[in-house]
Each structure stands twice: as C-alpha cells, then as structure tokens.
C-alpha cells in the first residue's frame, strides 16, 4: 500500500510535467488551429539554453533559468513572425508541415551548436530526495513537478484573469470578430507562440534534470502530443488531467507489470478513451481535417 502510494506520487509528478508540456500544444492549437510538431524540439532548445547558461557560462540557476525562458520565448516569437505569418491564408496543413520542418532544423541546429552526445545538466534543485513519512520521491522529479505545476498555475492565471489573456481567448474564439473590435490578431498569435515556447523551456529544464540532455529529447514531445489528444487538443484542463492520468498509469503499470508494459498500457487506455470520446476527455466536438 505504501509502495502504491509512493509509485503513484512519482507517477503524478511525471504526469504534472506532461501537463506542462501539453499546455504548450493546447495554447498554440486553440489560438491558431495548428498542431505544433516542433514543440518537443523547442523544449529541447530551451533545455540546451539552460545548459549553456548554467554549465558553459557558469551562471547560478536563478539567472540561467530566466535567460533560457527568455531566449526560447524569443525563438517562439521568431517562429510565428518569420515562418508562420508568411503562410497566412494558406491551408492549415501547410502550417503544420512547416512545424515538421522546423523540428528538423532545430534538431540539426542543436547538434551543430552543442553536441550529439548526452550531457548532464547542472542540478537546479536540492539533491536530497523528498521524504514524506516512509516515502521517498526523487528530488529532480518531485521539485520538477512542483516547478511544472507552478508554471501551469501562472499561465492559467494569465489566461483566466488578465486582460491580455482575455484578448488571447477572444482571438482564439473568433479571429474575425477580434480583429473587427480592434484586437491586433497577428500580435496575439505572436504572444501566444512566445508563451508556448516559454512553457516549453521550463518543461525542457525539468525533463533535462530528470533524465539527461541529448538532441533526441524532443521525442518526448510526440508522446505528450498523444496525451494531449487524449485530453482534447483544445482543452487546457484536459491536457493537465490527461497528463496526470498517463503519468500515473505509466508508473503503476511499470512497477507492477514491468517496464515493457509501461509504454503499452497507457496508450491502450488512450485508444479506448478516444473510441468512446473522439474529441478527448474535455475537448469540444469539432470536425478537424489535419
């Protein structure tokens, strides 16, 4: 029983990180109807930026982290302005293809600028495991999850409470109306991409701390995309809920059934849910041609 609880907590912690990664997909999808296949590699770019700040420039974490988040947000801004805005008016499929191209470019760029080998990220959190009664939670996973949840909270407040968030939600709801009322729609898309990239950078630092850093780290983005589809591509709450469910399932099946089931069972559950609810757990029914 104690074991199940400990395993569950670790699973939920990992799930919280999935939720943060998923958030980035959802905010871009809601605003622009683009599934961003480069999200995983933007996350990796953020992690390497942190690595550069902390390991190469030897900055303390409180300087390296904002630096990485800012640099990655700027990358998001540039992607919107230089890659996607020129495609405005073309079909959505073209934009999605462009994100595939971007993913490949980032993958190559990181190998070129840094290295293709695994590197260790300087620890950002205290390294003693978190002890709760008789339970041990690994430090990077536990603190990483706390950072992820804090970031999710900050962005939810941004969207739900601030006027900028309101304008972003209005734009996501109807571009024509938003534009008619004086909202600068391209500027809103730009802010949206910057926010998504900023969450990706935070997620990259957390994932990089839990595992190691290498140019293939972006692949986790694709698994999380599946998780996000489970939650409903257009639902922030759905992404977080689905992240927690899949994280928990992975941990529990991995422990009780063995590591080889860890990748299979959550996705069987996912497929089953999608058969019952094609728009995901909390997604709105809507026809999508991808």
């Amino acid at each position: 029983m104690e074991f199940l609880l400990e395993i569950s907590l670790v699973g939920l912690a990992v799930g919280g990180v999935y939720g943060l990664i998923g958030l980035g997909y959802v905010i871009v999808y809601r605003a622009t109807r683009i599934v961003n296949f480069a999200h995983g590699n933007i996350m990796m770019f953020g992690a390497y930026c942190y690595f550069t700040g902390a390991a190469v420039l030897d900055l303390p974490w409180w300087a390296a982290l904002p630096l990485a988040v800012t640099a990655t947000a700027l990358l998001g801004t540039a992607v919107e302005r230089l890659l996607l805005r020129p495609l405005e008016g073309r079909s959505q499929t073209v934009a999605v293809m462009a994100t595939f191209g971007l993913a490949a470019v980032l993958h190559g760029l990181v190998q070129l600028l840094w290295s293709a080998r695994d590197v260790f990220m300087p620890p950002i959190f205290a390294q003693q495991p978190i002890v709760l009664g008789a339970m041990y939670i690994p430090a990077n996973t536990g603190y990483g999850a706390l950072l992820a949840l804090a970031a999710v909270g900050v962005f939810l407040v941004l969207f739900r409470v601030t006027n900028l968030g309101l304008a972003m939600r209005a734009t996501a709801s109807d571009q024509v109306a938003a534009s008619s009322l004086g909202i600068n729609v391209p500027a809103m898309f730009n802010v949206t991409w910057a926010c998504a990239a900023a969450t990706a950078a935070l997620a990259g630092v957390v994932v990089g701390s839990i595992t190691t850093l290498n140019p293939n780290m972006g692949r986790i983005g694709l698994s999380v995309l599946a998780v996000v589809i489970l939650g409903g591509l257009d639902s922030l709450a759905g992404a977080i809920l689905a992240g927690l469910i899949v994280g928990w399932l992975e941990a529990v099946t991995g422990f009780y059934l063995g590591a080889s089931y860890k990748d299979v069972v959550p996705f069987l559950v996912l497929l089953t849910i999608l058969m019952v609810r094609p728009h995901g757990l909390l997604g709105a029914p809507r026809v999508e041609r991808l």
């Binding site: 006027n163 109807d174 534009s179 009322l181 004086g182």
Partner: protein
C-alpha cells in the same frame, strides 16, 4: 462621412462579386442597403470593414474613404482605431466566453488609444437590459435576439463613428426584433453614430433609415430618400410586398 467609390471585389479566382459599387453614408445618418440574397450586401460590408482577406477575397478596384482619408486595404484592427466597426454576418460572438467577457474584451482592445477610456460596459447593459440579466452566461447559450444585442453592444464599446450592421433582424422573434431596432435607432440618435444597415427585412430597415440603396448583382440599381423608395413601385413589389398586404 463614409464614401465608397466604384469598388470591385472578388473571392479567390472567382468572377467579380461587386462591380463598380458606390455609396455614401453621411455623418450621423442611417443608410439602408437592400437587395436580394446573393446581391453582394455582405461582401460590400466586408470590403469596407477590411474583412475580405479572411474569406480569401480582395478589392480589385475603387476606393473607400472615411472623412476624406483612404481606408481601403487597412487592417480591421486599425479601422477600429479610426472608429469604424462592423457587426459581421452571423454575429460572430466569442461563444465560449461569458457575456461580460465579450464586452470586456472589446473594451480592452482600444483602451489607452482613446482620450476617454471606453469603460462603457454599463451603458451597454442600460441599452439592452436583457443582457444585464445574462452577464455571466456563455454567449453561445444566449437566444438569437440576445446574441444580436451582445454583438451590437460589443461593437459599441469601440466608440465608433461609423457602424456596419449585417442583417441584425435575421432569425429573431418579432418582439426582440423591435427591441434590437429600437437600440439601433437610439445608438444613432443619442451617440450620433453613422450606420450602414444591411437588411432583408426592408420594412424594418426603411423604418429607421433616411436614405437607401438597392443593389443587384454587385452594383447599385436604385437609390434615394426613404420616402421616395417606399413610393417606388419596383421597391414595393420586390421588397415591401408584405407591407402592402398588411
């Protein structure tokens, strides 16, 4: 004064939809734009409001000027700053936002760009009291009439000098239709907003307008003061048939 001169518009690679259309909306007036389905009324409003690009359409000739300054080709959010606002076809509310958030989003968009900050959400609730009772409901769950009131109220928060309305009576019950049209007349009378009003329901439109245009296949075929239009036998046959029978 809004002045549209000889505009032509197309969608995609299609044939021209507007073919040399001209019209004027003098300051402070309500002008009606009538015409059969497919005549090009909605396209005219889209052209003026800069919304054609959203439909893969564009202007191919002509000019549009607001108080003497050219505004054709200007992006919609910039037009809003020049006090021209459209309530587009289909109302286009932010359906998953509440009534209040729909209004707040509109009020925020131009805040800081106006000498007097809009902040007039309460004025919208006074104009349309039905909305006040629904302020925390999602816009998508409102009745057709309430949705139309919200669409107009939201546009009002940009403090326009010119408002374009596309078929505000469409699909509304008679009582709500009255209420919406009373609201439109008050916006014109109390705030001096010039209005270009597209309507299928010519009886309603000619009731509050001063001047009217009738368009067919993308060009103006008849224009005149409302009294003259009402007396015109062609207009009576084509658009006021139900009125003569009443």
């Amino acid at each position: 004064m809004l002045e549209v001169k000889a505009i032509e518009a197309v969608y995609g690679q299609g044939a021209p939809v507007l073919r040399g259309l001209s019209l004027r909306v003098p300051t402070g007036r309500i002008v009606a734009l009538l015409g059969a389905n497919g005549a090009g009324k909605t396209t005219t409003l889209r052209a003026i409001a800069g919304l054609l690009p959203f439909e893969r359409g564009r202007l191919t000739a002509g000019t549009i000027a607001l108080d003497g300054r050219r505004v054709d080709g200007v992006a919609p959010h910039r037009l809003a700053r020049r006090r021209l606002v459209a309530v587009p076809e289909g109302r286009r509310l932010f359906t998953d936002l509440t009534v209040d958030d729909n209004l707040r989003a509109a009020a925020w968009a131009l805040k800081g760009r106006r000498a007097r900050p809009p902040g007039g959400i309460d004025a919208v609730y006074q104009l349309f009291p039905l909305l006040a009772a629904r302020r925390n409901h999602r816009a998508g769950y409102l009745s057709g009439g309430e949705q139309q009131m919200l669409a107009i109220g939201r546009a009002l928060l940009t403090e326009p000098s010119v408002m374009l309305l596309d078929e505000p009576s469409l699909g509304l019950a008679p009582r709500l239709r009255e209420e919406v049209f009373t609201g439109i007349a008050r916006i014109n009378r109390d705030r001096g907003v010039s209005i270009l009003l597209v309507e299928q329901n010519a009886v309603l439109a000619l009731d509050i307008a001063r001047y009217g245009y009738v368009i067919e296949q993308g060009r103006v075929v008849l224009e005149g003061r409302v009294a003259d239009l009402k007396a015109n036998p062609d207009v009576r046959d084509a658009y006021l048939g139900s009125a003569t029978g009443r």
